[in-house]
């Protein structure tokens, strides 16, 4: 059975793991971050950067890989105060986009979480499981994106190929 879906393994993103209280994070890096998401497990975007609120006092900032050096020089991980942690993690995750009319069906093979738009809305992001692996799943225009540990990238590509074959 064929699915009307386009799956692409993305190139590297600039990724930063941000931990600390929102106020402290805002004081240190608020100037260059998108507005902090109000809700748990949602994201905000501005100027090419996306801020995922993925846990208590925990965010992931994603930008274009070409902006990585700029982000490092403005986030200043080495100058962060002791109650703020900023770690560059660009190499750790590989993202897949799953878009098209059947994107939700393909995701439902991979992921047990209810990803219906009434539950998992336009700005939703969360850690959950994809093919049994810890994965960051988010909704994007026309479908979904998800990220797994970089080392599982080939395996997940293979699973996806089999799922839609």
């Amino acid at each position: 059975m064929g699915y009307n879906v386009t799956i692409n393994r993305q190139g590297l993103s600039a990724l930063f793991d941000l931990k600390g209280k929102k106020g402290a994070m805002s004081d240190h890096a608020g100037g260059i971050l998108p507005v902090f998401p109000d809700q748990h497990n949602t994201y905000t975007q501005s100027a090419g950067s996306t801020l995922f609120h993925i846990g208590r006092n925990h965010w992931i900032l994603r930008g274009d890989i070409s902006a990585e050096d700029t982000l490092i020089s403005t986030l200043k991980p080495d100058q962060a105060p002791s109650d703020v942690s900023i770690v560059q993690v660009s190499d750790t995750l590989t993202f897949f986009s799953v878009v098209g009319a059947d994107a939700a069906q393909v995701m439902s093979i991979a992921c047990p979480l209810d990803l219906h738009s009434s539950v998992f809305g336009a700005d939703a992001v969360t850690y959950t499981e994809v093919f049994g692996l810890k994965a960051l799943v988010l909704r994007q225009e026309g479908g979904f994106e998800f990220a797994v540990e970089q080392s599982f990238g080939d395996l997940i590509q293979d699973y996806l190929d089999r799922a839609i074959a």
């Binding site: 846990g55 208590r56 979480l113 850690y127």
Partner: protein
């Protein structure tokens, strides 16, 4: 499969969580407690027939630790018994 409610993420599959063990008794002061009570504290874990308080880690989720009551007779997650907090 259990459905466990994370205070941060809502209801999720048990497979996203790791079991953190039963909530034990409060740590006694080793300088004032008897050897027998100290060994009891270190080695004997709660294993009741009925509600037991447990710690779970949302490891494949937001990373939060949470505490629930589970009834060992039914495997259901239940309200805390009346005489507990």
């Amino acid at each position: 499969m259990l459905r466990i409610t994370c205070p941060y993420c809502g209801s999720r599959n048990e497979s996203e969580f790791l079991f953190g063990g039963p909530v034990g008794t409060e740590r006694p002061d080793p300088n004032t407690t008897s050897d027998a009570d100290w060994i009891e504290y270190l080695t004997v874990k709660p294993n009741p027939l009925g509600p037991v308080q447990e710690r779970w880690w949302h490891a494949r989720g937001c990373g939060e630790w949470l505490t629930i009551w589970r009834d060992t007779r039914t495997h259901d997650i239940v309200e805390a018994p009346n005489d507990t907090e």
